[in-house]
């Protein structure tokens, strides 16, 4: 039986359809469920994705309004059961604003995804970047299929993606416990020294952070935009770009898995191994 994932449609998200397609491509079933669905209808799902977009148009702060919805109460319970809950971009902002990530205290809010800085202008920034798998594969629900140190080209698109905290020592703790799952890096996996390798000035170049158990992950990059090889731009300094260029003329190759497909496949493995 294929694991069944619930993709939560908050008002104003906009990546729910391609996220569901990416899940299905990776061998999972996906249902898009409205934010105000009855609480009882959610407990049958094997996992949850909070897709990207602009829930409530980022009013007040990205993710802040959606974080207050009843459905987040359900997700807090489901997270405690160990089910994977992955927030992508705006979904990551919702997880941070609800305290599910980093999930150290009892839903205490210990992080922020603050406005990007370091790019010489303010506002939204959309481009391809590289991220490095910074933790052991089985540390989080999104990395089962990778090796520590793997480098993926992947697109970002956000105005508020800078992981930060005013709590002294928090990032040391997160790093020590392996909760920093993905880090922005150079094309060869080196440390991102600033814009554009590090696109937003995130603390420790963090691109994805999990809860202590690793089943709840807040990631800013968009794996559903790099799930198929055709989505990879040509010209990046990456084996994926060269593969894409060589696949010209072959629809089958261009529709095969891209660098982000492994994120969804990992969620599947995580669920299967847990059961």
């Amino acid at each position: 039986m294929r694991p069944h994932i619930c993709v939560i449609q908050f008002p104003g998200v906009n990546c729910e359809y391609e996220t569901a397609r990416a899940l299905e491509t990776a061998g999972l079933d996906a249902s898009i469920v409205r934010w105000n669905a009855p609480a009882g209808s959610l407990s049958d799902y094997d996992g949850f994705i909070l897709p990207g977009g602009f829930s409530y148009q980022d009013r007040v702060r990205a993710g802040a309004v959606a974080a207050g919805e009843d459905v987040m109460g359900v997700l807090i319970e489901q997270a405690a059961l160990g089910k994977p809950i992955v927030g992508i971009c705006n979904g990551a902002q919702v997880l941070v604003e609800s305290g599910l990530v980093p999930g150290i205290g009892a839903q205490s809010i210990d992080l922020a995804l603050a406005p990007n800085k370091g790019m010489g202008r303010d506002g939204y920034y959309a481009n391809w970047v590289f991220v490095r798998v910074a933790s052991e594969p089985r540390r989080s629900a999104i990395t089962y299929g990778f090796k520590k140190g793997d480098v993926l080209p992947i697109p970002i698109a956000h105005g508020e993606g800078r992981f930060t905290s005013s709590e002294a020592g928090l990032f040391d703790t997160l790093e020590k416990s392996g909760q920093v799952i993905l880090k922005y890096c150079t094309s060869d996996g080196g440390v991102a020294a600033g814009f554009p390798d590090d696109p937003n000035g995130s603390e420790r170049s963090a691109a994805a952070i999990s809860n202590p158990q690793g089943n709840v992950v807040a990631m800013m990059p968009h794996p559903e935009r790099s799930t198929w090889l055709r989505q990879v731009p040509d010209g990046l300094d990456s084996v994926w770009s060269r593969k894409r260029t060589e696949s010209r003329g072959s629809w089958d190759d261009l529709e095969s898995g891209g660098p982000g497909a492994g994120i969804f496949e990992s969620i599947k493995t995580h669920i299967e191994e847990r059961v």
Binding site: R61, A106, A114
Partner: protein
Amino acid sequence: MTIQVLVKLAAIDPWSFTVLDTLKRKFGCDEVTHVERVKCWELEFRPEAAERAAGITAGLLRDTVLLANPNRDRWVIRGFPGEGVPAGFWERSGDAAEAYIVKVTDKEDLAGQSLARILTSRLGISDIEVVSFSTIWVIEMKGEGRRSRDLAGEIAVARAWRKGFLANPHCQDAEVYPADEYFAAEVNRA
């Protein structure tokens, strides 16, 4: 000296509606009756430029849309002795007993820095030392006294799930004041 420009929309503000609706329906704050959003620019002039401050600020509002756009916004300029918020810009609604403001400022004030850069590099204005930008949320409540004050404080800072809302303390600072007091006070208190 500091010149403060308070700006609000000359139209219905969907953001304020979302905040009100969220506070009432998700945070159980039934006491809140009305929410208003005011953008707040603070231009800190060099002491020796105090006399030019009024003219420069008026010029910015007249010749540019950097602080406000007359086709969209209404504003007041404060910072001179004796100034307050003129009647009509903000008045407590009839059904509200108390009103507080929550002033939220990003710790990395990119909007302020960005305007400061434009002022010096593009417009050649060197009299302004610091620009800062904040969002002021005016929260009107029907309850009175201590409970209202506590509630405003709770709403101001997001600490845990459904506990606090308007500022994330990891990237923003929040200040809470009684609204009448804040708007009546002089910007450049001794």
